[in-house]
């Protein structure tokens, strides 16, 4: 269990105001815990200074595993374990193995990446996320600022949020 935390929440109704606010708030030296949005806001990850996700690398590695596994299985089964002459071709001729190899690559890549995504994002069916503001899945963008990790006073943070265009500023303890 995590310790009790106090959050100041800035509520934003418009994604362009939010993007400006993120830069303004960070410019003032305030550390933002996370921003919760009802839909993906383009440029928000860069404004928050997040690094690019490495999920594509995971997808590639899973895909590579699929390719090699499928090729190995087919060549070993039809070429070595029980060689069969089909249509007068070589035992282990590559072209007919391509469709299954392709499908298996896609299968492993897609499943591997999605499962990795669920694990790194700590998503599971029985887990309830911390709900800062229920409107964050509806129509509001919620900027959560953790007071514990900021040296600036609460009132100062509230003022900065108001100045940068937050329609409401709330507080929540967990």
């Amino acid at each position: 269990m995590e310790h009790n935390k106090n959050f100041v929440l800035g509520v934003f109704g418009d994604e362009d105001v939010l993007l400006g606010a993120v830069s303004a708030v960070r410019g003032k030296g305030v550390k933002i815990h996370e921003v919760f949005s009802p839909f993906p806001v383009h440029g928000l990850d860069e404004a928050l200074g997040y690094k690019r996700t490495r999920l594509p690398i995971a997808a590639f590695l899973f895909g590579l595993t699929g390719t090699s596994l499928a090729l190995f299985t087919q060549i070993w089964m039809l070429g070595y374990d029980w060689p069969m002459i089909i249509g007068g071709k070589n035992h282990a001729s590559l072209p007919p193995f391509i469709p299954v190899t392709f499908e298996f690559t896609v299968l492993l890549s897609a499943f591997g990446m999605v499962i990795t995504f669920l694990i790194v994002s700590d998503m599971k069916p029985y887990k309830w996320p911390r709900q800062y503001d229920l409107r964050s899945t509806e129509d509001k963008h919620i900027m959560a600022i953790d007071l514990g990790s900021n040296k600036i006073s609460k009132d100062e943070i509230r003022r900065i949020l108001k100045d940068s265009g937050a329609t409401e500023v709330n507080e929540k303890n967990f």
Binding site: P38, P40, T53, P96, E103, V106, A110, L134
Partner: protein, 457 residues
């Protein structure tokens, strides 16, 4: 803060805001089902039950209860299989290929189209499985599992085996793609349920949403996953019907043995898939009052895809015919002559009328923007596409090289029953989806509301 472009049509009408998107789409999940829904469900269930009876009878007695004979070994079963797989191509095409092309009009139709894809692929898969007869042994016939004959492995050189991998991969990847899209929308319903105090619903939809939090970091990863899934699904969609067409193209049966099959089948699949999406969406938008999200402009764009793919299919028919004549192979020439003038002439000419002539009507703007005309033509297109597969399969088989084994195919009640089963299952599943899942991708539509919605004065 809303703006309207004078260059592009608006994608969401009625002056919607981000909040009204949640309200409009979640309402039907939260409310009790309508009477119309119950009536539709009852009809689908009756059809499904009759289909299940036919299926049980077939499994008990064997494939002999179908009208197949020694000459025509594939008929309605494989026709239905190819037909349903074709229909199942629209969903992933809309969500994957149109995502890569940044076509924003996909956003209000992709959810329902993907659901349709998944149910259509299940329907499709049921036919080859039933055709096996003893389908409980199917694992050994389809998958490279160790067995007591050696192990004697499955034949990886056979397009039928490629099909097993293509269809099952397509099904599972489409399912994952669809489900990934649903996750943020399940969270919307969960949070609404928490506010309404509906505890059970909140817990169910939280479990379905995997505890989605909507944080910027999660969205960043989520977008990356969606893009890569789209990139993976794009060649996958094209590979599936290509491989289905190879079931025929790699054989030596006149009428099947043609290299044009892969692109011709893929175009036909998109053609029939879009037609089925239109049939379903025109009903869905009416029943759930989604006229502001699925606009006439969306319908028109889908009709344009139908003109393009329908024309490709038409050219493929003519090319096939020309090559048969030009190639000077008597068996091949006879196969095509027999299609047009033989005992199945009515199937051939139904196919030509429905698939080649009817989509050309969409060149007229009045017709492609008319909802009634679109609905009627979308059904005609799918009737035509069923006949296309029937023509390819049955007329090529029924008169082969040996005139003494020429034969005709007559469907039995069990052929019809199994086809009805697929309809019963398809509509039951679609109705359940439309009631319990958000039928429009809320998160995606919300992201475009500001830029493409009408300004409200």
């Amino acid at each position: 803060m809303q703006a309207t472009s004078s260059l592009r049509e608006t994608l969401v009408t009625g002056g919607k805001t981000v909040a009204s998107v949640s309200e409009d789409i979640s309402r039907q999940v939260e409310g009790a089902p309508t009477r119309l829904w119950w009536i539709a469900m009852a009809i689908s269930n009756v059809v499904l039950l009759f289909g299940l009876y036919c299926m049980a009878y077939l499994l008990w007695n064997g494939v002999g209860v179908w009208g197949l004979n020694k000459t025509v070994g594939w008929a309605w079963d494989i026709t239905n299989f190819v037909w349903w797989v074709g229909i199942g191509h629209a969903g992933t095409l809309i969500s994957a290929i149109l995502l890569l092309f940044r076509q924003k009009w996909r956003m209000s139709i992709n959810r329902a189209a993907e659901a349709m894809t998944i149910f259509a692929v299940i329907c499709a898969a049921s036919f080859p499985l039933l055709h096996m007869g003893r389908l409980w042994l199917g694992f050994y016939w389809c998958l490279p599992l160790p067995n007591t004959w050696g192990s004697l492995w499955v034949n990886f050189n056979s397009p039928l085996l490629w099909d097993v991998f293509a269809i099952s991969t397509y099904f599972s990847v489409s399912l994952v793609f669809w489900y990934m899209g649903l996750i943020p929308d399940f969270a919307v319903i969960r949070d609404r349920a928490v506010r309404m105090g509906a505890n059970t619903r909140a817990h169910i939809y939280n479990a379905l949403s995997f505890g989605w939090d909507g944080g910027a970091r999660t969205w960043q990863r989520y977008e990356s996953v969606a893009l890569i899934l789209a990139g993976l699904s794009t060649p996958l969609v094209l590979s599936v019907h290509t491989i289905v067409s190879m079931d025929f193209a790699t054989s030596v049966v006149p009428g099947w043995h043609t290299t044009i099959f892969p692109p011709y089948f893929v175009a036909g699949a998109i053609f029939s898939g879009f037609a089925m999406v239109l049939t379903l969406l025109l009903v869905t938008r009416k029943v759930f009052k989604l006229e502001d999200y699925i606009t006439v402009y969306h319908v028109e764009l889908m009709n344009i895809v139908i003109i393009i793919t329908g024309s490709i299919v038409g050219i493929a028919y003519i090319t096939e015919f020309f090559i048969a004549w030009y190639g000077q192979v008597p068996a091949e020439q006879y196969a095509f002559f027999n299609r047009m003038q033989g005992p199945y002439w009515w199937a051939y000419w139904s196919m030509m009328t429905c698939n080649v002539i009817s989509p050309q009507l969409f060149w007229v703007k009045k017709i492609r923007t008319s909802l009634v005309a679109t609905f009627v033509l979308s059904i005609i297109v799918n009737v035509g596409m069923w006949f296309e597969r029937f023509v390819i399969i049955v007329t090529s088989l029924h008169r082969d090289y040996l005139p003494s084994s020429w034969s005709m195919f007559y469907p039995t009640i069990f052929d019809i029953g199994e086809y009805l089963f697929s309809f019963g299952f398809f509509f039951t599943a679609f109705l359940l989806f439309a009631k319990f899942f958000p039928v429009i991708n809320m998160a995606e539509v919300k992201s475009i509301v500001k830029s493409t919605s009408e300004k409200k004065h």
